[in-house]
């Protein structure tokens, strides 16, 4: 297991210490660590010579810079009108049933988080979800169950 301060130092090496490096660094932490812990934000603040409040202020503005604990696989269900017309609610039902958590929650083994997200641009193949960086489209109950089972076994 890596140390959060080492991770931040590596990211600073990569992106620099200027203010515009803040978002890429925070995104880098989320990519490795699933979400931004308080320690991580304080560490970033120290490295970039910003106040922790500034870092938190930026992080909390963006939905993809999570400051709440998130699982290894973040499932983002598109909540846009076209997905809603084509069965988004059923998708959420299946996910909640399979993972036994509600939207916004993370499973006890820190593996899955269910979130709702804005349009992910798959309106013509609705309903759609993103699992981390991978979109899954044209979902049906059966298709989704199969996908989630595969992730469960990973």
């Amino acid at each position: 297991m890596y140390q959060i301060d080492n991770l931040v130092k590596d990211l600073v090496k990569q992106h620099g210490r200027a203010r515009e490096a803040l978002m890429p660094i925070l995104q880098g932490v989320v990519a490795q660590h699933n979400y931004l812990t308080d320690e991580a934000m304080v560490e970033v603040a120290k490295e970039l010579d910003l106040s922790a409040a500034e870092v938190y202020g930026t992080a909390s503005f963006y939905t993809f810079l999570d400051t709440e604990p998130r699982g290894k696989y973040v499932i983002r269900v598109c909540k846009t009108i076209t997905c809603a017309m084509k069965g988004k609610n059923e998708i959420i039902e299946v996910l909640q049933e399979m993972l036994r958590i509600n939207v916004g929650e993370t499973t006890l083994n820190d593996k899955f988080t269910i979130l709702e997200t804005n349009c992910i641009g798959w309106c013509h193949k609705a309903p759609a979800i993103l699992i981390n960086d991978t979109p899954y489209t044209d979902l049906t109950r059966e298709k989704l169950v199969k996908i989630i089972k595969e992730y469960m076994h990973q």
Binding site: E20, M23, Q27, T82, M85, N118, C119, K125, T137
Partner: protein, 615 residues
């Protein structure tokens, strides 16, 4: 439309297999692998080339396989179809006649060639021309279409002033939504003093129901990069950023590959094509904030701050990124530049209408037979897009409304179907082009609920800076919630209107200035539906849960017990083989029983009124 253009080097026959994410999720990777194998086994590898391409646009019908040069079009291809397709590609082979041909949505007849398919033949694919015909991860494909030639022309045959002049004469307007004349920004940036300037491509396409920027970035990333490099040369910038939203991971990956390949070929970097012009492009990934599509919020985001808009002037062209002159345009605007430089302003200005030149690109979705990305000349009517290209509403249901421009746009009724699609006409109708989403709805959609959806979106995405937007949209949402719950009053309509006007006037950026549009247009064109909700407590689309109830028709119920099993709150009683009944007190109106009751029985009805009326 003609696919074979610009001399893509082809074998005798080429199979283009769409690898857009839509087709991939429908199994196009398996189709690609199995077709390659079959062709090898038949000994056709020399004569038939199998190519992976970006999105063909007709995602609804995926996986898609196009055979050139004949222009054969196979849709919904399954692995079982592959041997037949492979055999048909041999010199003696004949095109397939039934499966997997595309069947026309109106007539049901099979169609062999894509140029006979109304989804394609009514379009004018300029910007989208390469999407679906080249492998977006292979710069060689792009070069074979004549790619980067216009860059050479711009750098060696034109002065920066000539380029700006060409853009001016072309009449190109910003395709991000507002339609601001592009050349004004270019000229302002060019004239701005200093040698530190920036070119930014706004790919923060956040409008619900819009995905054409994603399709272009995934299908033809180099066309956008080239537009940016030419813009950099014209205004004297040396650095460009593409701001892509985090929700588009594949677009980011394809862009990374494209930038890397263009750098290796010397199109990006120091001394481009051995000229004395240097320009670099970097990707900046957004992090899920809709308001960052607003240009000043986008700048704040790149600077590492909260994405809050600031007042203009100064405009970014005067003082943008880190206070330096900055040119910000949409993906589609940059993708048009190659054509203006290559074919000239006059050619470009020949497309479209008097005030709006070129093509418009829409994402056609919702209750429509052929959904997907369409590109049409400006000025074509909504009817031509929805019925001509989109094939109308599935199941022959009547058209109710089309929502254009997402949360900033409006909802237009059937009477306005003959409105020409361009910046000015849509604005006059109370809507806007926006980034190009077009959501078609039929009678099963409640207009009040639709407006409520967009206002809800605005409340969540308002950055909170301006009180009218932050508080006003929440007030509107509360009122709309009351109306859909049957608690509305007639004066609510007036309050909605005055609130809407207030928010428009009192907000700093485009988000607040347009957020009330969905409510204001629906009040204008569908006022009677609001009044029905308020006075009669009736939702004519039977969508609003508090204004409907479900009932089991005793004469049709066979007691199959399916509904009792799916009911999440155990509101349905009745033993197997006995007529079932819904307890209206317990029912949460989720509609699951209605959906699951086998169609051959159709025993569950959705009725008006919150409760069963007693006789």
């Amino acid at each position: 439309m003609k696919i074979r253009r610009g001399g893509i080097r082809m074998s005798n026959k080429t199979c283009l297999i769409c690898q857009g994410t839509g087709c991939v999720s429908a199994g196009s990777r398996e189709i690609h692998a199995s077709l390659e194998k079959e062709i090898e086994q038949l000994g056709l590898s020399k004569d038939v080339k199998v190519k992976r391409t970006g999105c063909h646009g007709f995602c609804e019908q995926g996986p898609l396989v196009v055979v050139e040069p004949e222009g054969l079009f196979y849709a919904g291809v399954k692995v079982d179809d592959v041997p037949d397709i492979a055999r048909s590609l041999s010199p003696q082979g004949e095109p397939l006649e039934e499966k997997p041909l595309y069947h026309d949505s109106a007539t049901g007849n099979p169609i062999t060639h894509y140029h006979d398919i109304s989804f394609y033949n009514k379009q004018q694919r300029t910007v989208l021309q390469n999407c679906g015909n080249i492998d977006p991860e292979e710069i060689g494909d792009y070069l074979a279409t004549g790619g980067y030639q216009s860059l050479r022309k711009a750098l060696f045959e034109m002065s920066p002033g000539q380029i700006v002049d060409e853009v001016k004469r072309s009449g190109l307007r910003g395709l991000g939504g507002a339609g601001f004349p592009t050349w004004i920004k270019w000229e302002a940036c060019q004239r701005a003093p200093g040698d530190e300037k920036y070119v930014i491509c706004n790919a923060d396409e956040g409008d619900p129901g819009a995905f054409q920027d994603r399709s272009i970035l995934e299908g033809d990333p180099h066309s956008v990069l080239k537009g940016m490099i030419i813009a950099g040369y014209a205004i004297g910038a040396r650095k460009g950023y593409v701001y892509v939203r985090a929700e588009y991971p594949l677009a980011i990956k394809r862009l990374e590959i494209a930038i890397d390949q263009a750098r290796k070929k010397g199109f990006i970097g120091k001394s481009i094509l051995d000229s004395n012009f240097s320009f670099d492009i970097e990707i900046f990934q957004g992090a899920g904030a809709f308001v960052c599509g607003e240009e000043t919020a986008l700048l704040a985001s790149i600077e590492g701050k909260r994405g809050m808009p600031r007042p203009r002037p100064p405009f970014p062209a005067q003082s943008g990124l880190w206070g330096k002159p900055t040119l910000i345009s949409n993906v589609k605007t940059y993708a048009n530049i190659r054509w203006i430089v290559n074919k000239g302003a006059d050619w470009f200005a020949g497309i479209g209408t008097e005030g709006c030149k070129g093509t418009a690109i829409f994402s056609l979705t919702g209750k429509i037979a052929n959904s997907g990305i369409v590109e049409v000349p400006m000025g074509i009517t909504l009817r031509e897009i929805i019925y001509g290209i989109g094939g109308g509403i599935p199941g022959g249901k009547p058209f109710k409304a089309v929502q254009t421009g997402g949360p900033s746009g409006g909802c237009l009724p059937a009477e306005l179907l003959d409105t020409p699609v361009d910046f000015d006409s849509l604005k006059a109708a109370g809507s806007m082009m926006g980034s190009g989403g077009m959501v078609v709805v039929d009678e099963d959609t409640c207009i009040v609920d639709l407006a409520r959806y967009f206002v809800d979106f605005a409340t969540k995405e308002s950055c909170g800076e301006c009180a009218p937007c932050r508080l006003g949209t929440n007030q509107m949402l509360d009122i709309l919630n009351d109306i859909v719950e049957g608690k509305g009053e007639m004066e609510d309509i007036d309050i909605l209107e005055s609130l809407g006007m207030g928010i428009k006037k009192g907000s700093l950026c485009g988000l607040g200035q347009t957020a009330p549009n969905p409510v204001l247009t629906t009040l204008k064109y569908f006022r009677e539906e609001y009044e029905e909700h308020i006075i009669e407590k009736k939702c004519r689309a039977k969508v609003c849960k508090d204004l409907i109830h479900f009932i089991i028709m005793p004469d049709r119920c066979t007691g199959c017990h399916i509904c009792t099993k799916v009911c999440p709150v155990n509101a349905i009683s009745g033993d197997p083989k006995q007529i079932h009944e819904i307890d209206q007190e317990l029912c949460i109106k989720c509609g699951l029983c209605f959906e699951k009751c086998p169609p051959k029985f159709g025993a569950i009805e959705k009725n008006y009124g919150s409760k069963v009326m007693e006789d």
